[in-house]
């Protein structure tokens, strides 16, 4: 018995239906993509390319490579030299470079480049360059006589690593590694400023997230369970801060919390504290945490609210009727149902807090500065590559959190108001 050949379905003009469908689907996919294309291009140019540029900047610095060409050429010819005991030829190349740097006024650029890995080299380079044109062979002894620092193995390692245009040095510096005489090593505990600040930023962001969650949970619950008319009114109290300028809110926190501010006046007026004992709540960590909590609280309330809104009250009533206490009902029945909202709000608040800049810059004082402020500091000091390396590390952390947010919550569930 022959197998029945399947009937090939065709469209009216005789094409196989399968092919026609595939063509139609491809066409509509193209049409959808075509709509998104202008924006994709715009975001590519205005957002992605600048970030790629920044990443490039974080591994690129030719300050030494372009101004010390003879030394760079010597390094290329002798890659395996002993940094503890560089030969006369290396010193000769260096002295000729120093003399040229002095003439071309590039000493500062070259010295700054080496200074990232070997602190104190800017002045060393300047003094060396001033003396260079009068030095006579043997250059090794002559340069060491100018400053014995020129014989330091760490300096030669630093110059060798700066000979290329591209380097991972800035990432090493930004993760608190130090160039010692025998190579890169972990910095001493009191020198670990960058990782410490990263750690502190994450810790403060975590604390702010927890405070926001504790404050937002009851409020979101109230908003979700009140009748519509009342909750709409109260919702305005949450949304108005959301819409108000960040700088306005920061200004008012300064007015409230500074030493001659309203809260202190109130406390002195009621006799709770003396005039001499005014609390310092502004221009320090306290000010940063209070102001940031205020700014980020709506980002916690809104996701919690939208999840709590759809939790049927009958589950809690069923638990109570089966004999659960109100605490058990909350812990076993209500809380687990709010977890998606808790995850969404916490991740969002944490992500936004980690990258925060304006509020710490204005009210943070000395101890309330976060990692963003350090990036800004290095930008203002023209340490572009170092700023870019720190920014790249922050970006990596944010992208991991963003990926987590997408996996746990889904970007398309992000809502505003």
């Amino acid at each position: 018995m022959a197998e029945a050949t399947p009937v090939l379905l065709t469209t009216a003009d005789g094409r196989p239906l399968k092919a026609a469908l595939a063509a139609a689907q491809a066409r509509s996919r193209r049409r959808a993509l075509f709509l998104v294309l202008p924006l994709l291009l715009f975001v590519l140019v205005t957002f992605l390319i600048p970030i790629v540029y920044m990443l490039k900047r974080s591994v690129e610095h030719d300050g030494f490579a372009t101004s010390a060409t003879a030394t760079v050429a010597w390094f290329a010819a002798n890659p395996g030299f002993d940094p503890a005991n560089p030969p006369e030829a290396a010193f000769a190349a260096l002295v000729s470079d120093l003399a040229r740097m002095q003439a071309e006024k590039t000493t500062g650029i070259a010295g700054t480049r080496i200074n990232y890995s070997v602190p104190g080299t800017i002045s060393l380079f300047k003094a060396g360059a001033r003396a260079a044109k009068d030095l006579q062979p043997p250059f090794r002894e002559a340069l060491l006589a100018v400053d014995a620092e020129w014989g330091r193995p760490a300096l030669w390692r630093g110059m060798q690593s700066a000979a290329g245009t591209y380097t991972t040095e800035f990432y090493k510096v930004a993760s608190d590694r130090k160039l010692r005489d025998d190579g890169w090593a972990r910095g001493a505990d009191n020198e670990r400023i960058y990782l410490y600040l990263f750690f502190k930023t994450f810790l403060i962001s975590g604390a702010i997230t927890v405070i926001c969650l504790l404050l937002a949970f009851p409020v979101a619950h109230l908003l979700a369970t009140l009748p519509m008319a009342k909750s709409s009114l109260l919702m305005i109290l949450v949304l108005l801060p959301f819409w108000t300028s960040l700088l306005v809110r920061t200004t008012s926190w300064i007015a409230l919390l500074q030493e001659q501010g309203i809260v202190n006046d109130l406390l002195v007026g009621t006799g709770l504290i003396t005039d001499a004992g005014r609390l310092s709540m502004m221009y320090n960590l306290t000010g940063t945490i209070v102001a940031m909590t205020h700014v980020l609280l709506p980002f916690m309330v809104l996701p919690l609210y939208s999840v709590m809104k759809v939790i049927p009250p009958s589950y809690a009533r069923a638990a109570r009727s089966l004999g659960a206490t109100s605490w058990t009902t909350f812990r076993r029945i209500y809380l687990p149902q709010t977890l998606p909202g808790i995850a969404a709000g916490s991740l969002l608040v944490f992500i936004l807090a980690v990258g925060y800049y304006i509020t710490p810059a204005l009210v943070g004082g000395a101890d309330g500065q976060l990692i963003s402020n350090l990036i800004s500091f290095h930008m203002s000091k023209s340490n572009w590559s170092l700023a870019a390396a720190i920014a790249a590390m922050l970006l990596a952390a944010i992208l991991v959190l963003y990926w987590l947010y997408d996996r746990l919550v889904g970007i398309d569930r992000l809502k505003l108001g």
Binding site: V52, M54, I411
Partner: protein
């Protein structure tokens, strides 16, 4: 949540504690915003209530800080307030210049973000859109990536994005760029940056509106003989318009409140309101900032009201009942 009749005394106490906690959190949210309003009428250069203000003595209140907003940078603030005086305010006064610049940048950034964002949201809401999740993640990321990183990247990029003087490109784009022919220090650089920052908000609000959009309406319009253009303007647009407008308002507020990108990529002569406030808070803090803050609170209240009305209208149009 009303208290059930079977609640125990302990539960009653807890319930009222809970209400008090909620009240305190609401106070925490709203008090800092409302407090700037009375403070901005301070007659003294203090950031706190003076005894005269607390006694409701009219002498403790004044409009002098609002006056400062007009006269700061004014060439002849003491002359009589005639037409020349007011035109000097419009042309020279520092805060008025900042406000004009802020509105101008905000307007163009909003137009860019809204047009591109709405069209893209239409594409993203189609079920057949390929790589939807990835593209969405990319388009939302300006909201997630810390502004300092975006600003650093842009300041590097804008300094490189130059046209050669005298070239064909400089004839076309030159007027938008700085004197050096670069995107850095130019107004266009700030507009483009702010548009990128506003795009996520437009995408989110418009896709949210489109998620309840009945796709069969499009087919109905087409079956009745409408061409794609008529379908879009007569059927789709009226329904998604509330979402588009609230997205545009979000984008405008984002630009209007943005200071970090301005600090990093705008030239020193390009003042905006947030930049003036930022510098004012950092350097010499004066109650004039509170007067600006009060004006901004009034504006944001108006915007919030507009967005709320739009959302209700959108829900009604789409047949979503309730909130």
């Amino acid at each position: 949540m009303a208290l059930p009749t079977y609640a125990s005394p302990l539960e009653r106490i807890w319930y009222y504690t809970y209400l008090v906690i909620c009240g305190l959190v609401f106070l925490f949210l709203i008090a800092p915003i409302l407090i700037v309003i009375p403070l901005s009428f301070n007659a003294e250069p203090y950031f706190t209530f003076t005894p005269k203000m607390l006694a409701f003595d009219p002498g403790g209140y004044s409009l002098r800080w609002y006056d400062t907003l007009l006269t700061l940078g004014h060439p002849a603030p003491e002359t009589p307030r005639d037409a020349t005086w007011w035109s000097a305010v419009w042309e020279r006064s520092t805060w008025v210049q900042a406000a004009k610049n802020s509105f101008w940048v905000g307007l163009w950034a909003t137009i860019l973000a809204t047009v591109l964002g709405t069209v893209a949201a239409l594409g993203l809401s189609r079920p057949e859109m390929p790589c939807r999740r990835l593209i969405m993640a990319l388009l939302i990321s300006p909201m997630i990536v810390p502004i300092i990183i975006i600003a650093v990247g842009m300041s590097f990029f804008d300094a490189m994005a130059c046209v050669a003087p005298g070239s064909a490109a400089s004839l076309i784009f030159g007027v938008f760029l700085s004197e050096m022919g670069c995107l850095a220090n130019s107004q266009l650089g700030v507009i483009v940056a702010h548009a990128a920052l506003g795009i996520p908000f437009v995408i989110i609000t418009v896709t949210a509106t489109l998620s309840g959009f009945d796709q069969s309406l499009i087919r109905a319009a087409q079956s009745l003989g409408a061409n794609p253009r008529t379908t879009f303007f007569k059927v789709v647009m009226p329904l998604i318009l509330p979402g588009v407008i609230s997205g545009a308002l979000f984008a405008f507020v984002t630009s209007f409140d943005e200071v970090v990108a301005v600090l990093f990529i705008a030239g020193p002569d390009q003042q905006t309101i947030p930049r003036q406030m930022f510098n004012g808070i950092r350097e010499a803090i004066s109650p004039a900032i509170l007067a600006v803050a009060t004006i901004l609170v009034v504006i944001s209240t108006g915007l919030l009201a507009a967005v709320e009305l739009l959302r209700r209208r959108s829900d009604r149009l789409r047949g979503v009942t309730g909130r």
